[in-house]
């Protein structure tokens, strides 16, 4: 927990801010503390050093600079440094100026390649120009110095490269027009290439967060993106985009150094940097990188192995050995792996005897596991070609690791390399007599395999039978496993990836086996529906027959809440609702379903609700429907498509002769849609009170839909418009036409509900 808190970025920022307002004596310890956690945080170094400079504490300032400059290639920090140097040397005359010039050179050799170093170059040039020149010779010297600075600056891809080029042109022209032409045309192509590189480089640099604090890698998206951004920048620099010779390597080193300021805790970057150095021939530099890496990440075993590998490969065995010894650490904490790797190292470099000696020591270590025995035995067998030693080692280890099934298997493997079937059998028998049942599964498996390869038919069958008996009690194998099944035969007669049956047969058999295992459980239905219980029980069939493809996890609804959409409109998690409410609410559906069936009787005879509750309701509604309405429904034409022509439907309806029905005004209906079921509609049929018929004439919404569709053609994004927010459109023409057609007749109610038949609209507004 402390480790996580240590790198807390927010609290670090707060701490740094608080230090800003404190006197230096109080702030210094805060900075020191921050900088031990974030040793590459240039912004804190800068803040620290500026605080010291603010009180003219020159010695302390110098000391801080000496601690941070080389690790923090950060232009603002370095500019701070040059400001300090200039201030210190201000009044020291020529000597001071020489000091300052040296400081500039020093600085530019470190951060001159930075994309933000433009102002530094300008400052440097301005400084050179301001140097006093007593005579013509000194003037020429000064001019040469300025020219050199310009020529370096205009081939460096920086933000200010264009301005620097213009300045350089002016400078040359002011010195000598004749010379200028030649010099400028020489540098123009180099400048052009640098400028092109700058434009490309800027894209990569812009991706990088230059304010980030160096924290250990996390899985956060931002960290990953930063990592990617740095990798891209490094790859770009490695491509040597400027096609420059020696300076390219310097730029790559510069990029790596800058990268490590931010990705200080990333072992992969350290490793990349070191291997790149080694590959480009600078072994010593690579070693230095590894040393710094281990200082940054002292716990990283990976880096230690990587470093040791480098040392070993270049023949520095002593330092490699030291690294291995550091991996071994304290005797109590040594890992098994460290023992093994060290034995191997010794075997490679100091010979059989040294390795043996160390193995004998390691055996006594409390952290020595069976791995060490296996590793050493295999080394003796494979490298030293000494089966006798290997055998002895395995045998010695067996006393200690009889209870480790993996060790038994390794030993058996070794013995089978020797073709020593008698000893293998003895080993299996010995191990199986002492191993507990649940740990012996793998050993039994190997024993049967072994008999398959080495034994005759009788011993093969015998071991298989014994295995079944031995394992019959475990959860892995059901009681039925005692019976010999066809699957066992398949496993006996298959070889590698060849099977005596098709994969379909296999699937079939394993499914059957799974089913037979579940025969007993089927009675308890709830257990079956519980998906997690099911997967626990379904095991793969013996000898690698895969049943994985059959596993399907089912939702366990007892762990969820019932949601009744109609009762809890828009609420998130409703309280437990009873099924009674659901039943009641279902009543609102059947009407529409009935209507749908009636309207298109030929189309789908299966129209019905499967749900028992609702099918009862269905009947009730049928009974409840007034004869006139039923007749009307039956007479509805079958229609095609979602938007039948209302006029056609109306004309068909009007041709039919319905019994007189009491009515409402059709024109008033659209406004009722949003208001929910109108009371006046429900008294249309007395029994429908409990389940209001979707009352709204749905040729209205239909019309609206048509209008809306036109809207959509104009307005692309349909998601934004919601049904409810749209004003209802009235088709005045249709209404008038309809009224005209009906003439003086008072009967209009039929239209109230037949509309829903056309659409099957189960609009949510009914509840």
């Amino acid at each position: 927990m402390a480790a996580v808190d240590k790198y807390n970025v927010e609290s670090a920022e707060i701490l740094a801010n608080s230090a800003l307002h404190l006197p230096i004596t109080q702030a210094a310890p805060i900075y020191e503390q921050l900088l031990t956690i974030f040793p590459t945080a240039a912004k804190y170094w800068r803040q620290y050093v500026e605080a010291q400079m603010g009180v003219n504490n020159d010695d302390a300032t110098k000391q801080i600079f000496s601690r941070c400059l080389l690790n923090c290639l950060h232009v603002p920090l370095w500019r701070c440094y040059i400001r300090f140097i200039r201030k210190v040397n201000d009044r020291k005359g020529v000597e001071g100026q020489e000091e300052t010039r040296k400081a500039f050179d020093f600085m530019l050799s470190y951060v001159g390649a930075d994309i933000a170093s433009g102002p530094v170059w300008m400052e440097y040039i301005a400084f050179l120009k301001s140097m006093p020149a007593a005579n013509t010779q000194e003037e020429t010297q000064r001019m040469t110095a300025v020219r050199k600075a310009y020529q370096k600056a205009v081939v460096t891809p920086t933000h200010h490269i264009e301005q620097l080029w213009r300045d350089y042109e002016n400078f040359e022209n002011s010195v000598s027009r004749q010379l200028a032409k030649g010099l400028l045309s020489e540098y123009q192509p180099k400048y052009n290439s640098a400028r092109a590189v700058y434009r490309e480089l800027k894209k990569y640099v812009d991706e990088i967060d230059w304010n980030m604090l160096a924290i250990p890698p996390t899985d956060s998206c931002k960290d990953q993106m930063q990592w990617v951004a740095w990798k891209r920048l490094l790859a770009f620099e490695k491509g040597n985009p400027q096609r420059i010779d020696g300076a390219s390597k310097k730029r790559i080193i510069f990029s790596y150094e800058q990268c490590l300021m931010y990705l200080y805790h990333y072992p992969d970057i350290w490793y990349d940097y070191a291997t790149w150095q080694a590959k480009s021939g600078s072994m010593d530099a690579a070693v230095k990188v590894f040393q710094r890496a281990l200082k940054a990440l002292p716990e990283s075993e990976m880096l230690k192995y990587a470093y040791a590998e480098l040392e070993e490969s270049r023949g520095s065995l002593q330092s490699a050995k030291k690294l291995y010894e550091s991996l071994l650490g304290d005797a109590a904490e040594t890992t098994t792996l460290a023992h093994i790797q060290f034995i191997r190292f010794l075997r490679r470099n100091e010979g059989v005897e040294a390795a043996r000696k160390y193995f004998l020591d390691a055996r006594k270590s409390p952290s020595c596991t069976y791995h060490v025995y296996v590793a050493y035995a295999l080394m003796a067998f494979c490298l030293d070609k000494d089966p006798k030693v290997a055998h002895n080692v395995f045998e010695a280890g067996l006393k200690q690791f009889m209870h480790e099934p993996v060790y038994i298997l390794e030993y058996a493997d070794f013995l089978s390399c020797l073709n020593d079937d008698r000893n293998i059998r003895a080993l299996f028998e010995r191990a199986l007599s002492s191993l507990p049942q649940e740990e012996s599964i793998e050993v039994w498996k190997r024993f049967t395999q072994f008999e398959k390869t080495y034994g005759d038919l009788a011993s093969m069958l015998k071991v298989e039978q014994r295995r079944k008996e031995a394992l019959s009690g475990t959860s892995e194998e059901g009681a039925s496993a005692l019976e010999t099944s066809l699957l066992d035969l398949i496993s006996r007669y298959s070889f590698k990836d060849l099977w005596p049956c098709s994969s379909k047969d296999l699937d079939h058999l394993s499914r059957q086996e799974w089913l037979s295992k579940n025969i007993g459980k089927k009675v308890d239905k709830s257990a079956l529906s519980n998906g997690s219980a099911m997967t626990d029980k379904s095991t793969s069939a013996p000898s690698g027959v895969s049943t994985a493809s059959l596993k399907v996890l089912r939702p366990d609804t007892s762990q969820m809440v019932i949601y009744d959409p109609r009762q809890h409109h828009g609420t998130t998690v409703p309280s437990n609702t009873t099924t009674a409410i659901l039943a009641a609410s279902n009543l609102s559906n059947p009407m529409a379903t009935v209507v749908g069936a009636a309207s298109n009787p030929l189309s789908n005879p299966t129209v019905s609700m499967v749900d028992g509750v609702s099918s009862n309701a269905f009947d009730e509604v049928l009974k409840a429907t007034p004869p006139s309405l039923s007749a009307f429904l039956a007479g509805l034409p079958s229609i095609e498509g979602p938007a039948p022509n209302v006029d056609i439907v109306l004309s068909i309806c009007l041709q039919n002769d319905y019994p007189t029905v009491q009515t409402k005004k059709a024109t008033s209906l659209p406004s009722q849609r949003t208001a929910g079921p109108a009371p006046s509609t429900s008294d249309l049929s007395g029994s429908s009170k409990s389940h209001p018929i979707p009352s709204n004439s749905s040729f209205r919404p239909r019309d609206r839909q048509l209008g809306k569709r036109k809207d959509q053609e104009r307005q692309e994004e349909e998601e934004s418009t919601t049904v409810q927010s749209q004003p209802l459109q009235r088709d005045a023409f249709r209404i008038r036409q309809m009224q005209k057609a009906r003439g003086g007749s008072a009967s209009q109610t039929g239209s109230v509900s037949y509309g829903s038949a056309l659409s099957g609209d189960l609009s949510g507004s009914t509840c």
Partner: protein, 336 residues
């Protein structure tokens, strides 16, 4: 993995050339498409409220250069039953049933074994705009992603609706753009308007992982599992296509270089999961990446007028379908 990214650079597979064909035209924007699990059918849904069902064998017959018996019609069914635009479709894993979720707050069941049926034989009335539907692999349950921030689980046999009993805090903008089951039903994933990708336990329906700003503040528009259920591929209106490791919630890969900020853009795997397909809206192109190296391996003009709305790949072969604002449906298959 980190070094694997670096190492695999430059070794991207190449995506084979495809031929494409205009299949059919809806009366309004074609908004979604889905293949049946056996890859034999594909259905498209439109803003004109209709659903078209295509038979893949007939599409292929149509695409043959010398089809003898005149023009072949690949559309074998058209369903009209919704009153609002179709949002999403899914096929029953075993039987000949197609379901659709629409803006009219309903999920409708169509039986396409009968040649004459044009209308739904069952309807689920939901409370919200049904934006996405996904069948459980058993076919006994289905999930509906709606304007509600929690997916609705329906028992297909009883129509009972269930919700997760313990849900994480989700803001007001949690409408679900897409919900998808994993291959075993052990998990499902939701992509929401709040930019989050959430993973849910398929058995208990509790939220097991929320990747809160998977797509920043932009909408997450699609999410689907790999077949091995180890990863989730998501797409958002921030123009990002990302691959997440389910076990850790880590961002494993990012497929860059396609801009999609307007529509419910899809990012999908091809049938072998070697490639990822999505859409670049400004250039109206289909973009294909190597799934492992995340390198862009192809960019093809969509042949639609205006950027495609939806892209869906066949689960069984090298073929996919695109749906356009231009109302048309195009089929793409590997050149043989």
């Amino acid at each position: 993995m980190i070094s694997a990214v670096q190492d695999t650079k430059g070794s991207s597979k190449s995506f084979p050339k495809h031929e494409t064909r205009h299949l059919s035209e809806h009366k309004n924007i074609a908004r979604c498409a889905r293949f049946s699990p056996d890859g034999k059918f594909v259905a498209t849904g439109s803003a004109d409220t209709s659903i078209k069902l295509f038979e893949i064998s007939k599409i292929k017959q149509m695409m043959l250069p010398d089809s003898k018996e005149g023009p072949v019609r690949p559309v074998i069914r058209t369903f009209y039953d919704h009153v609002q635009p179709i949002n999403d479709l899914d096929f029953h894993p075993q039987s000949t049933v197609l379901i659709s979720g629409a803006k009219d707050n309903t999920i409708k069941f169509f039986d396409f074994s009968k040649a004459t049926a044009k209308r739904a034989f069952r309807v689920i009335q939901d409370t919200h705009n049904v934006r996405s539907v996904s069948f459980h692999p058993s076919g006994d349950f289905l999930l509906a992603g709606t304007d509600h921030s929690i997916a609705h689980l329906y028992d297909v046999n009883t129509f009972q609706c269930y919700l997760s009993a313990n849900t994480p805090e989700i803001g007001v903008n949690g409408a679900i753009n897409q919900v998808r089951y994993s291959s075993t039903g052990g998990m499902y994933v939701t992509a929401s308007k709040d930019g989050a990708i959430r993973l849910w336990d398929g058995v208990s329906a509790s939220c097991v992982r929320a990747i809160a700003d998977a797509h920043g503040t932009a909408e997450a528009t699609s999410a689907c599992f790999t077949k091995d259920q180890r990863f989730v591929l998501s797409c958002g209106k921030d123009s990002a296509v990302k691959l997440w490791e389910i076990g850790t919630g880590r961002l494993v890969k990012q497929y860059l270089g396609a801009t999609h900020t307007q529509f419910r853009c899809q990012a999908v795997f091809n049938d072998t999961e070697e490639f990822v397909l999505s859409i670049d809206e400004p250039s109206n192109e289909i973009v294909i990446w190597d799934a492992l190296t995340a390198d862009k391996v192809a960019k093809w003009p969509s042949n639609h007028i205006g950027a495609p709305r939806w892209i869906e790949h066949s689960p069984t072969e090298a073929a996919f379908i695109s749906c356009g604002t231009d109302r048309s449906v195009r089929f793409w298959k590997e050149n043989l």
